[in-house]
Symmetry: C2
């Protein structure tokens, strides 16, 4: 059973997730990835996970049942076996750790990376993202749906097989609340302003009809990239199929460039969006994991970044690989 | 040359520190520690570092000069060779990245850990902390002095030889500003309230005449520990020699217990204090590094902690080592 706890006097929260009953010795070293043979996310291992809530297969969306597990799927969405939050006992959503935690298995193939996806596969993933986000946001008492991807052990992934995660929360998280307070004070959407500032400039990395990608002026980490819709859209549900296609193309392009330059680094990406407030402007942030959050960052919440975003954009735009010339 | 940049529309900052002129390939993997023979923090290598600003030796505080480097020291404070911020060009403190960055070498001995320090050695370190914090806070335009320790590669240390770091900033960081805003709204100091709540309870870990140590109710990471003075003191400069002694004793006790339970983990500790506002209550936060900050934390600023602080305190108080029983 989890518990959502608030800081003594600040608008800060943590989730105490004691489900796994860990002992001190479990924290000594990080576990190795399982090998492909024992991976429970692979095709054929459907009976080794909780039953799927949604399975994408040949243009249809299905569900596992007690009597039948769906095989030969393209994308499979399952409850996390060790949920940070879980439904039940919703009368006291904080103390009972109410919420949902889902894993989106992006492909049945163990060795496939997101950057290997075909156009068709990436647009299907964007649709699955949209569907699952909308589904969970409509559940009782859910205030925010966090959708993110941890790729590689250094980025916090515990399994190698490519997947995303979704955690639905009974509160608006501090990150979004802080932004909303400022957005509400302004007469224009600050993200719409950012789209103007960061289009076709020295920090631009990619543009298509619907989205721009750039290294933000105040980048927290080397090679951080933001992807913003040009049009003011608040969440996945406001996107047309063409927009979803453009978003997928932007993600694939940017990740391919990061992988070429940084020799396949671990990375996180996170979707920032809000269903219940049109003032918010959807955005995606991609952060390669190349440095540690150390004492200074934990003391000040100020990040020291040794790669100026202008230089990062130059490399992303001009160098074929990070290892080829000096 | 560094630059302090503000977020597009939030009170967030980052420091762009391009000093080392890194290329993409430099971000691919984290470097190994140098071995003891090539360590520039060791006794006898004084000529391999920038000249010391303060050297603690036999009850005196000295400085290196061009003609003479101090040898046989106990603690040595040197400018960081790759500073995040540096003095000069103070007319535009943000764009010029104005500030100071110092390394406090805590002992001349390479293999010595903080938990091996004698009472005399730890109290001398606390005095050096106090002196250096007070010195930098009084420099022109300095608004905050961040004092922290990164121990172990996973905690962001780039050298093995035990040391702390101090970065003096021309702004009050977001972490402190956020706290101050709430503190000023309250009629009583919320940290004084926390001292009452967290004394002799299920989260208590250590108490002495001047300080209490406990696992905070809203612990961000497993085995996080806060050390608070019982008395309302805002910064190092307000502490008597006896208080400094008690603080050192609390740090050594708590770190010894963490090392025994978690088999010598990497850790960060950070001092939170403020010179220019008596409303702030000095505190020290110790965070062992046993988990990664992943996509969910980066999306929401909410931490998932798999070790309830009550259970962490139980282990810290009752188990001899984390590996002995199951």
């Amino acid at each position: 059973m989890s518990e959502i706890r608030k800081h003594y006097f600040l608008e800060e929260y943590c989730i105490i997730a004691a489900g796994r009953g860990k002992r001190p010795s479990d924290f000594s070293s990080s576990p190795e990835f399982q090998n492909a043979a024992s991976c429970v996310f692979c095709a054929g291992k459907e009976d080794k996970t909780p039953r799927a809530m949604a399975v994408y297969k040949n243009g249809r969306i299905l569900q596992d049942s007690i009597s039948k597990l769906i095989r030969e799927w393209q994308i499979r969405c399952i409850p996390n076996l060790y949920p940070a939050l879980s439904p039940g006992g919703a009368d006291t959503p904080y103390q009972s750790g109410y919420g949902f935690h889902e894993v989106i298995i992006e492909t049945p193939q163990h060795e496939k990376k997101l950057t290997d996806f075909t156009d068709e596969e990436i647009v299907l993933l964007m649709k699955a993202y949209r569907d699952r986000v909308m589904y969970y946001w409509k559940q009782p008492q859910i205030q925010f749906v966090s959708l993110f991807k941890n790729w590689g052990k250094q980025a916090g992934a515990s399994l190698e097989h490519t997947h995303s995660q979704l955690i639905a929360l009974p509160l608006i998280p501090p990150s979004i609340k802080k932004e909303l307070d400022v957005i509400h004070e302004k007469s224009k959407c600050p993200y719409c302003e950012i789209v103007k500032i960061e289009s076709s400039n020295e920090r631009s990395v990619y543009e298509n009809k619907h989205f721009i990608a750039f290294t933000p002026y105040c980048s927290k980490v080397p090679f951080e990239i933001w992807i913003l819709p040009r049009e003011h859209v608040s969440h996945f549900g406001g996107m047309s199929e063409r927009m979803l296609y453009s978003l997928g193309a932007a993600i694939i392009y940017v990740l391919s460039r990061i992988e070429a330059l940084l020799a396949f680094p671990a990375y996180n990406y996170m979707f920032f969006q809000l269903l219940q407030d049109d003032a918010y402007h959807f955005n995606l942030r991609i952060q390669p994991v190349t440095s540690k959050m150390a004492g200074f960052e934990k003391n000040t919440e100020i990040f020291i970044n040794t790669m100026p975003p202008e230089k990062a954009a130059y490399y992303l735009n001009n160098e074929i690989s990070g290892l080829n010339v000096h």
